[in-house]
Amino acid sequence: MTRFIAIFLVLFMGTAQAVIEAYEFESAQTEAEYNQLIKELRCLVCQNQNLSGSNAELAQDLRRQTYTMLSRGDSPAQVVEYMVARYGDFVIYRPQFKSSTYLLWLGPFLLLIIVLYLVIRKLRGSARPLEVNQGAMAEARNLLLREDDEK
């Protein structure tokens, strides 16, 4: 059964192609906001696609909803809020900044700072001048002078 579903899903890859709607917008800004939003909203029935790239029916419905909301004056943030209220955080590709995502957003920077600090401290710290064994130096000098004499 799993295999059947799996094959079916793979076949569905074919819907991995954009459906193009010719929506008309009042202003270039609204159009830009729309294009940006449908790239950040997720198609819930697809195998990892945004609303912009999917021709699934639900994706068309959600695009229409986005268009309607933006055209009547709602802000992109309000559209996102609307979608998240109904579908949860899953529907937006930009993870919201909250306690459960602090690690996600801040982790890499923290890691970078910590690593850079440790590495730079280690490199500075180990930059000691080489200790010279005076006895060995003297012996080496003698040997070299003797060789010069013998030449």
């Binding site: 890859m13 074919g14 193009i20 929506y23 950040e40 955080d89 993870p95 996600l104 890691l111």
Partner: protein, 655 residues
């Protein structure tokens, strides 16, 4: 009959791989010469049988043997020959067989083309590769047998997914596999070094060419995938940070860090432990990628038939291989101490910083890719997509744009800040000014565009300076002859990045996209081009029926430039509608048109038009980088040095 032969050959290959793994490794540790000597023959015989198995499967495809389940699922008698051949790796089972074959080919290459590597080390390397082969072949035979029969045989196959019936998609997997399977060689070398406790850095020198070649193929494979997504999927994008894309990108990034780390280790004898660790990481990420794509643990457009049972097997394999390597590392790495010091203000330091940024960027991508699983495990659900990855990746790798330039001018071991400043001051100012002028010439001022151009120019200028430095105080001919191939590799690699940066910057910031309704006779103008729609026509080809639209493109003065013919196809067998965008490719811009749906009954259609400036530079940059990898691999210094070192290393350790 042939499929049975293939199946039998596969099982034999596993037995030999087992032999290849156990005997040489045991022989190396116990000092049994005959067992050590068995490594090469075992490797080659395994390759032979695996090739036979693969050939059998290909035969089944070409001869339309639909009594083989895998063939019935992925092929069709109407399928053009080239796609019957590429269809072999179009599904899970066949692509795994290709994975195993590529691994075997790499092992064979190491067996035949490493005369300068001491016998014992080579035996260990081949032994480790044999271990990995065992794992894969076991997995294939137990859970993913491509030779499974379908009884009764199907009258006709289900056809290869139309998305895969494309030349770019056809070559993309082999390139990728040659790439990240190739990292197994550096991995094997570092494991062999850890096992043997070899304190010197010779293994780094031996591993370099193999790593360069693997990396260059991975570069090409990723670029092919990106290019394919762009022209085939019709949404104008070329990278989505999909888990499977990330699965190939992470080894690529670590591969870059590895190549640079190998350079430091070979040259200065430092960072041996780090290099070993990076080699383990690079290959581990390749294996992780295999897990992610085939286990169903993440949702992805690329995912093969997913099956948690297979996922468990791969995870166990991953745990054993990587876990085992890291245990070995934890135990033996302390031996790999280096005497030399590293100063921050030196090429060593710059490369170290380079690797830190790359490693943190890779960690960010890994974090973003796996975070949804972690949140799911805690009862929530999130998506992490392009907005996260784009931001994190850009910020974490932007410093590299400047660092690359500094790295090419700064001296090994230690440099003087005054000397450096003197060298960089003038070029830096020149770059800032020229970039400013270029940015002014663009349609509008965007700060991030300026920064991107600054970075690209900085890299190009410092690369040129690095090249001229080689001619200073020397006769031109003798200077030219003294430049090693690896130096050109470095230059090309970095220039490739500069070209890549230009492509990304300009296409992301200055592209135009428009979805609109067009009836025959309508036109639309953007960026100095006028697109006029002339209606659609229907006709039939091969295994699909097409609706083709016609557009004529002219420039501002009305001169005809080109015609574009976007299509919508319906493939006969799978009845899937597919959009074939029409693209007018250019060095400085792409024009891209896709057909949507018919609107109304007056012949109007929904049309998507893109203007994409400099998008080809993205893949051009990748090709230049790959070329750099090729030059780096061909460096003759590897051959000269290895003879001397091989002799001494050989005398040092015989067990």
């Amino acid at each position: 009959m042939i499929p049975e032969i293939g199946h039998f050959a596969l099982i034999l290959a596993l037995c030999i791989a087992l032999f290849q793994a156990v005997i040489p490794l045991a022989g190396a540790s116990l000092g049994i010469q005959r067992w050590v000597a068995a490594a090469i023959p075992a490797t080659l015989v395994q390759l032979l049988f695996l090739s036979l198995a693969y050939a059998s499967l290909t035969w089944a495809f070409i001869n339309n043997d639909f009594s083989v389940l895998y063939v019935a699922r992925n092929s069709n008698s109407e399928l053009p020959l080239i796609y019957q051949v590429s269809g072999v790796w179009g599904g899970h089972e066949g692509s795994l067989l290709l994975w195993a074959l590529v691994l075997s080919l790499w092992s064979g290459a190491v067996a035949l083309f490493s005369p300068n590597v001491p016998r014992v080390m080579r035996a260990r390397v081949l032994g480790v590769l044999g271990l990995v082969s065992c794992g894969f072949l076991l997995f294939i035979i137990i859970t993913s047998n491509p030779f499974e029969r379908l009884i009764p045989a199907a009258a006709e196959g289900s056809d290869l997914n139309p998305l895969l019936q494309d030349i770019g998609m056809a070559i993309h997997p082999p390139m990728l596999y040659i790439g990240y399977v190739g990292f197994s060689v550096a991995f094997a070398f570092s494991i062999a070094a850890l096992i043997s406790g070899q304190v010197d850095s010779a293994w780094a020198r031996w591993a370099r060419p193999w790593t360069n070649i693997a990396w260059l193929f991975l570069t090409l494979g990723i670029a092919l995938g990106s290019w394919w997504a762009y022209y085939e999927l019709g949404w104008g994008g070329w990278w989505f940070w999909d888990p499977v894309e990330n699965a190939s990108f992470m080894p690529w990034l670590v591969g870059i860090a590895l190549m640079h780390s190998l350079a430091i280790t070979e040259k200065r004898g430092t960072f041996k432990a780090w290099t070993a660790l990076l080699a383990i990481f690079a290959f581990s990420l390749s294996l992780l990628g295999t897990f992610l794509v085939r286990s169903g643990v993440l949702t992805s457009v690329h995912a093969f038939a997913t099956d948690p049972a297979r996922g468990i097997f791969i995870l166990a394999f991953l745990a054993v291989v990587v876990g085992g390597s890291l245990v070995l590392y934890a135990w033996r790495a302390p031996l790999l101490r280096s005497a030399a010091q590293t100063r921050l203000l030196s090429r060593d330091g710059a490369l170290l910083l380079n690797n830190i940024f790359l490693a943190v960027a890779t960690t960010a991508i890994l974090l973003g890719t796996l975070y949804p699983i972690a949140i799911d495990a805690m009862g929530g659900k999130i998506s992490v997509g392009p907005p996260y990855f784009n931001l994190m990746f850009l910020v974490l790798t932007a410093p590299l744009g400047i660092l690359i330039g500094i790295g090419m001018l700064i001296r090994w071991k230690g440099d003087d800040i005054k000397r450096l400043r003197g060298k960089m001051q003038l070029p830096a100012i020149a770059v800032l000014v020229v970039a400013f002028l270029i940015s002014l010439a663009l349609p509008q001022w965007i700060w991030s565009a300026y920064l991107g151009i600054v970075m690209a120019l900085w890299i190009a200028v410092t690369a040129a300076i690095a090249l001229f430095e080689r001619f200073r105080n020397r006769k031109p001919m003798s200077a030219l002859r003294s430049i090693p191939s690896g130096f050109y590799g470095m230059l090309l690699g970095h220039i490739g990045i500069a070209v890549f940066i230009i492509g990304i910057t300009l296409t992301s910031l200055y592209n135009h996209e428009k979805d609109l309704r067009m009836a025959p006779g309508d036109s639309y103008s953007v960026a100095g081009y006028k697109f006029t729609f002339h209606g659609v026509q229907q006709f039939r080809v091969d295994n699909y029926v097409a609706t083709r639209g016609e557009f004529s493109v002219s420039n501002e003065s009305g001169d005809f430039q080109t015609s574009l013919y976007p299509e919508k196809r319906i493939y006969q067998v799978q009845k899937m509608p597919m959009t074939e965008a029409a693209i007018d490719a250019g060095f400085t811009r792409d024009l891209f048109i896709a057909l949507g749906e018919p609107l109304g009954n007056k012949g109007a259609w929904a049309i998507r038009i893109y203007y994409k400036p400099f998008i080809r530079w993205i893949w051009l940059g990748a090709i230049i980088m790959a070329l750099g990898g090729l030059f780096a691999a061909g460096d003759r210094r590897y051959k000269r040095h290895t003879t001397a070192v091989a002799v001494s290393a050989g005398m040092e350790k015989t067990g």
